[in-house]
């Protein structure tokens, strides 16, 4: 039997707002009356490192998505899409923000940052890959901070939760003065993956 309605893995770099996306998904799922599970990264691993968050909607088991089991891989940074690409289920969707964040290993010249296509091509072999310039769209919406909400908007097309509940949950976690920019960011992200 299928043990979860929708398994989502959200990845990025510490500080990009991965946890907020999962928090909104979880709250919206509760509003929709669906069981929901999430697992997140705290502590040492967070500091500028790779972060991964598991969210399972319509699931009553553990919060952890199996490798090869994610219906959606939401990557807030392109290198992180490949780093955690093994979570994607065959036929799954990877939604990738194309704006890169250079790790210290690259800025100090120890390692090289690969070009975008060489990171995404391996994912295309088994999954659908949707790319968007989420950071740029967030700036258009009025604040670069809302990149994660652009990504949430894009994700909204692929999950079993009605949009109005997602936006209601977003209102619960975003301070009112940023809400307008965040609503705009959500719609821009959603339009981008049409």
């Amino acid at each position: 039997m299928k043990t979860s309605q929708s398994d989502i893995v959200i990845v990025g770099v510490g500080g990009q707002g991965v946890i907020l996306i999962s928090d909104v998904l979880g709250r919206a799922a509760v509003k929709a009356g669906l069981p929901v599970r999430g697992a997140e990264t705290h502590g040492m691993a967070q500091r500028g490192g790779s972060v991964i968050n598991h969210t399972r909607i319509g699931c009553g088991f553990s919060p952890m998505v199996a490798e090869g089991g994610a219906d959606v891989l939401l990557a807030l940074e392109p290198a992180e899409a490949l780093r955690f690409g093994q979570y994607l289920a065959p036929g799954g969707v990877a939604i990738v923000n194309t704006e890169r964040v250079l790790p210290v290993t690259v800025t100090t010249g120890v390692s090289e940052y690969p070009d975008l296509e060489s990171m995404l091509a391996p994912l295309r072999e088994t999954a659908k890959v949707r790319t968007l310039a989420a950071s740029e769209l967030a700036r258009q919406a009025g604040t670069a901070q809302a990149m994660n909400v652009v990504m949430l908007g894009a994700l909204s097309r692929y999950i079993p939760i009605p949009e109005d509940l997602l936006l209601e949950a977003l209102k619960d976690v975003v301070p009112p003065r940023y809400m307008e920019a965040n609503m705009k960011a959500f719609q821009l992200g959603k339009a981008e993956v049409q």
């Binding site: 069981p35 490798e67 780093r83 800025t107 100090t108």
Partner: protein, 593 residues
Amino acid sequence: MREYLLGNVAIARGILEAGCGLASGYPGTPSSEIVESLAPWAGEQGMHVEWSVNEKVAMEVAIGGSWAGTRSVVTMKHVGLNVAADPFMTLAYLGVGGGLVIISADDPYCHSSQNEQDSRRYAQFADIPCLDPADPQEAKDMAIYAFGLSEKLNLPVMLRPTTRVSHARSDVETGTIQKPSQGAGFDKNPRRRVALPVHVRPLHRELLSKQEALAGELESAPWNSLTLRGDHGIIASGISGLYAGEAIARMDLNLSFLRVGTFPPPFELVKKMVEHCNVLMVVEELEPVLEEQVERIALRYNPGLKILGKSSGALPRDGEFDLLQVDNAVATMAGEQTRSAPILPREILPPRPPSLCPGCSHRATYYAMRKAFGRDAVYPSDIGCYTMAVGMGTVDTCLCMGASITVASGIRFGGEERPICCSLGDSTFLHSGLTGLLNAAYNKARITVAVLDNSTTAMTGHQPHPGTGVMATGEATSRVSLEEISRALGAGLVETVSPYDLDAAVQTFRRAREHPGLSVVIAEQACVIGARRSGERRRPFRVRDSCTGCKKCVEFGCPAIEFVDEKASINALCTGCGVCAQICPIGSVEVVE
């Protein structure tokens, strides 16, 4: 009401619903959010909530609360229980007053820890019950149950969430928050409260005789559930029970299944499984605590039973399990197809290890320290954000909280002749560095101690401590001076400097190195995250065209400095600390006006 709660917030909720009146703890991933979530309720509920100086202190404060008749809880991470082990072990002899719950959060895979010890072993060692939750709902419900169990058995009860419970979120059914129990006060009873040999000998016998009652209580606890089906079966505890349950459901297997949430495990239920099955797999992370019990029971009731687990090599004794791993182990036992994850060319990716933040003052402190002491000096260090500076060459050791000063002293007494400069953070210094500094002064250790004072417990999420002048509840309190306490403990030279003033910092470290005895340098600069949260903004810096590409600033390792087209460049992460402008030999880094 159903809410989407973090495991630790759910545990805090359970503590409030149990009418607990006192909570103490020391921050440590993955346990920190429990006390943080309780703090806002302190005023409203009339509950005492504190960040204690360390775990031993926290444990003793909670014991005192319990002995005053108030339901009390103490929280820590698994290695914190080592610090608190002294009161913990004897407490089981003496017993409790109000219900006493000890929360020790384990961290399989060491996501944010120096080891992956298993707290269930400690509970076994102390002869007290341990509850092993699988998810936030169970953790919350167990927290409530634990207080009652503690009072019923007159024993402390351990609740042992793991990272994947404490830092999981799920929809949780919440109940009603109870007004905290107000204890009747301390009841003088030397035979039960004074651990004299003459008192503890009978108390040890009493503790051992309680084990039967304890086992009986846990046998019928709601956290153990048995489903007898086929002659192959699984016994699993904690989150492993959810992995195994999902594997059974996914493959629609006719397996017998026992989920265990209590330690010691339920004897009768395990016996039923052992007698019913021919093949039994035990699924639990870390130590084979459950597996050993199963083996022991099987020896008596079904010696032919094939047991799969850690001993058989079916599952490892280290690290964290994942769903695919458990799914495949179950599939193998059941004769089903195993699955594999896609193999991707991840080797083309640059590593992205966690690192110090842009503008972090620790980076500047270590830069100045290395300049003054040289690459050849010995640099014992400690537990905190600054351990991540291991790549700078100024973190030569990290053992446990507070071990920097003591290990440095021992290295000196062991015959090391080179300069020794150890480092530890302000919270760690107050946690367990003070005794080490006192010992270093008393025994005349010729070392330098650098206290990296960023005025917070940064790594675990910015908790206050006695050096901040603020309590867990936000209330103002006395503020200890790190300089004065260092002098009082006997340090000969004590100086404070801001690491953002690089020249001054280097000069200070040079004086410390030349000092013939014990010296202390307090590198004082607020944590950049804390400063940003409190509204502090500094003008960012930029690199002028005159940059010659010497890479001196790039090698400093700040994530805000990039090397693009043979020149340095400062990106949007710059917090304006200005240290790279002081490193640049030709003045090519300037503030953006």
